[in-house]
Subunit: 203 residues, 2 copies
DNA sequence: TAGCTTGTGGTGCGATCGAACCATAATACC
DNA sequence: GGTATTATGGTTCGATCGCACCACAAGCTA
């Protein structure tokens, strides 16, 4: 038989169909038949590559997460070598915003899964780790900024990092709902960063 | 026939069943049969009181919103007469946090509806107004605080209000996912408020 | 008392759901 | 060149879906 096919690519093709459907109508629109049609494969193939529906939802989420991580890494790498703390933190936070179609859709998929994260342990595990890691990363960068004199000493790095990450996530929601433009979102982030990365140390 | 029944109460009884199911398993678990069972009424009654499934989802959301608004008003009134700007802003922001079972469930219901807000105009209309009103309220309170000398003049009231509200919403998500305790959430809010409502004006 | 209106239960229909089953073409391995 | 394995399509089954329809009891109106 055709061993020619790339298993991962097939799974990705199907996962993307899941994302599109979830983005449009929530998980209740992610039926095996609809996914098969959207992915332009037979319903049988879904079972072959993913098994049951729950496994399909889980698998599609895992692929989404892997994508997000890699893209974030790429974007950070694009900042060039030896970027300032300010620029790195900014890059991390902007990554959370739905600034392009790709990130927008990604966050919509997360939104569609959200309630499941609370009841399905398998899904929860996949989605639980990222935010804390981000927060610690930002906190560490701010602390480094303090040692470099780019950030006032009286700033609470951990508390500010937590609020920055949470703020970015909240803004993300507002942008998705059309309550705020992407430009406004970036401006809000920059306003807070300007406060924290005050060039003139005063503390 | 039995006019004795209170229409609104019946609708509420059914709406609460919708909330519980949506909270547990998302909108895909909100089927007419399941809602009927959960509300302990016949499936036929759902149709009588709400009509189609879409109308049921819309109606249940409207009731939830009305509840949220009233409870928020009550809680703000409990602050006593002539509370300080700081206390009012704090009350508004804390209202966004899932600090008790009621608010937690409410936000979970919103989460379950989220993706629908983007595609269903009727739902979107119901959920679109609140955040902006909140933001303007907070911005106004901060501006008042500036005139009273409770807030430094160099604070950008609008930008800070927007970030506070978004931050509270983001923190809410983290609390729901168990990534942060309610106590930590309140502490984060208070940390930002302490910065903005700095007793000693320095700007 | 007759009849209309409102609230309630039950039931049925066509569509669709997730999942299993059966068939088979293509190829790698020996 | 056989043969086991991998990839794919098609089909079917029992359950459940949303929703419409029918029946009827309980009150109000006349």
């Amino acid at each position: 038989m055709p061993r020619q096919v790339d298993h991962d690519q097939r799974r990705r093709q199907i996962a993307e169909a899941v994302w599109r459907l979830a983005t449009r109508g929530g998980l209740e629109d992610v039926t095996l038949r609809q996914v098969a049609t959207e992915a332009e494969v037979s319903a049988r193939l879904l079972q072959y590559y993913f098994g049951t529906r729950d496994q399909l939802l889980l698998g599609a989420l895992e692929i989404l997460n892997a994508d997000a991580e890699q893209r974030a890494r790429e974007r950070l790498a694009m900042l060039g070598e030896a970027p300032g703390m300010h620029a790195i933190v900014r890059g991390v936070l902007l990554e959370l915003l739905p600034l392009d179609e790709e990130r927008r859709n990604r966050h919509l998929v997360y939104a569609a899964y959200f309630v499941r994260f609370l009841s399905d342990p398998a899904l929860a595990k996949v989605a639980r780790d990222a935010p804390h890691a981000l927060e610690n990363l930002v906190a560490g960068l701010i602390a480094q900024g303090q040692e470099l004199g780019q950030v006032p000493r009286d700033i609470d790095a951990a508390a500010e990092a937590a609020f920055l990450v949470s703020g970015a996530e909240g803004i993300q929601t507002a942008v998705l709902l059309g309550q705020r433009t992407p430009e406004e979102a970036v401006a809000l982030i920059d306003h807070q960063l300007a406060r924290i990365f005050a060039a003139t140390t005063r503390g």
